[in-house]
Amino acid sequence: MNAPIDLTARTLQSLRDIDGVYGSFVISATGETRARDLPPVFDDRTLADSGMRIARLWEVIAEGGAPEYALLEFAEYNLFLRRVGNGCLCVVVPAHVNVLALRLASKWVARYFEPVAHKNTFFS
């Protein structure tokens, strides 16, 4: 059974309450997009290409200890990563984002995805 889409979308949208957040998406352990709340310019191909690499990166990062989060800082914007279920929550944020607030908000989002991950096949 799939996750309730509306609630999933609404859960991701809650991250936008944090000043500056552009959007977010969730990928499985293999990098497939499982949920998204992003402007349309981030098309499926973009997410497919990046999802695969983010999944591999997350695997490397998690080697030797489960990280709470990772922040990838680029010239244009940043990407905040956090584990959800077997996958990864990716939040597109500006450089000046409040990381503390993002950590708390993403924790709530991760909680939503945990039961989904365990009871359903969201991340399989």
Binding site: Y22, G23, L38, P39, P40, V41, F42, T46, D49, S50, R53, I54, R56, L57, V60, I61, E63, G65, A66, P67, E68, Y69, A70, L71, L72, E73, F74, A75, E76, Y77, L79, V92, P94, A95, H96, V97, N98, V99, L100, R103
Partner: protein, 292 residues
């Protein structure tokens, strides 16, 4: 390639020196200024009724503006001459403004007055600003994914070629934008040894250059791969160059700094709560030209 004589010590080549100007000392001061807009520079020439040829370098683009008694008589860049060239050159936002020793030619190709040209540019900029949606990261990503757009459309109707003209390769070598973003300097050593902290400096090909702390080699291999994967993520998402990767675990902070030359420096140590503090918002640099 057009012959342009630029007296610029940073230039690696000088083309077609003008014998009539050779050895003629210019009276007055020679200025080395930085952070001034091109419009201000040309208005200054107008104000002091200057005569001379000024070469404008901006990235890989080259143009020249010819003044006689403060009036802009001739302009050229690539295949453009006259008003179209003047508008094109004056739309460049940063670069170098070099007083060439070339003599002012007789020809007059710029019809519009300098004031009219600058006014038109100001209007074009304003129209573009109003017609564009606010620049969000999303639109920025889309633009980057679409690639460079070549010439802007602000000068349509003035004989703008559909393809960018070939640049003058000789002068391109001399271009040194005045206020380019300063890339952080690659360190030559890993961070200072501290208790409980592992520091590494990794070469672009992944070899450990310098390191201290426990298991520096393992950390070097890990961060080298992390940097590469992050770079690929940035490319896929149109996020630009990777700067830093920060990883927080319940007991440690890992900070990986990526340099534009491919070197990677990393530090793994106890949790640093200050790492969560947001950096101050940065404002875009103003348009500016370096004057030689």
């Amino acid at each position: 390639m057009r012959g342009v004589d630029v007296k610029d010590s940073s230039s690696t080549e000088t083309q077609a020196p003008d014998s009539s100007a050779a050895g003629r000392a210019q009276p007055g001061f020679r200025a080395h200024l930085q952070g001034i807009g091109l419009h201000d520079l040309v208005m200054l020439q107008n104000l002091v009724r200057a005569s001379g040829v000024f070469v404008v370098l901006s990235g890989e683009r080259t143009g020249s503006l010819h003044f006689a008694r403060g009036q802009l008589l001739h302009a050229e860049t690539g295949e453009l001459v006259g008003d179209a060239a003047a508008l094109e050159v004056l739309s460049w936002r940063e670069g170098e403004f070099i007083n060439s020793e070339r003599t002012v030619p007789e020809r007059t190709t710029v019809v519009a007055s300098l004031d009219a040209l600058l006014l038109r540019l100001a209007k074009d900029v304003e129209e573009i600003r109003q017609s564009e949606p606010p620049l969000t990261t999303a639109t920025g990503v889309r633009r980057r994914m679409e690639g460079p757009t070549g010439f802007r459309t602000t000068h349509q109707g003035l004989g703008m070629p559909s393809q960018p003209p070939p640049m003058a390769p000789g002068l391109a070598a001399a271009a040194t934008p005045g206020v380019a973003a300063v890339a952080p300097k690659t360190p030559t050593r890993a961070g200072e040894p501290r208790g409980g902290v592992t520091n590494v400096l990794v070469a672009p090909h992944g070899a450990l250059i310098d390191g201290n702390g426990s298991d520096a080699e393992t950390l070097a291999a890990k961060v080298g791969y992390m940097a590469r994967l992050t770079d690929l993520v940035g490319q896929a998402m149109g996020a630009g160059e990777v700067r830093t990767v920060r990883v927080r675990t319940p007991v440690s902070d890992l900070t990986v700094r990526c340099y534009s030359d491919g070197h990677v420096a990393a530090s793994l140590g106890p949790v640093d709560p200050s790492a969560d503090a947001p950096p101050p918002p940065s404002s875009p640099p103003p348009s500016s030209f370096k004057v030689s």
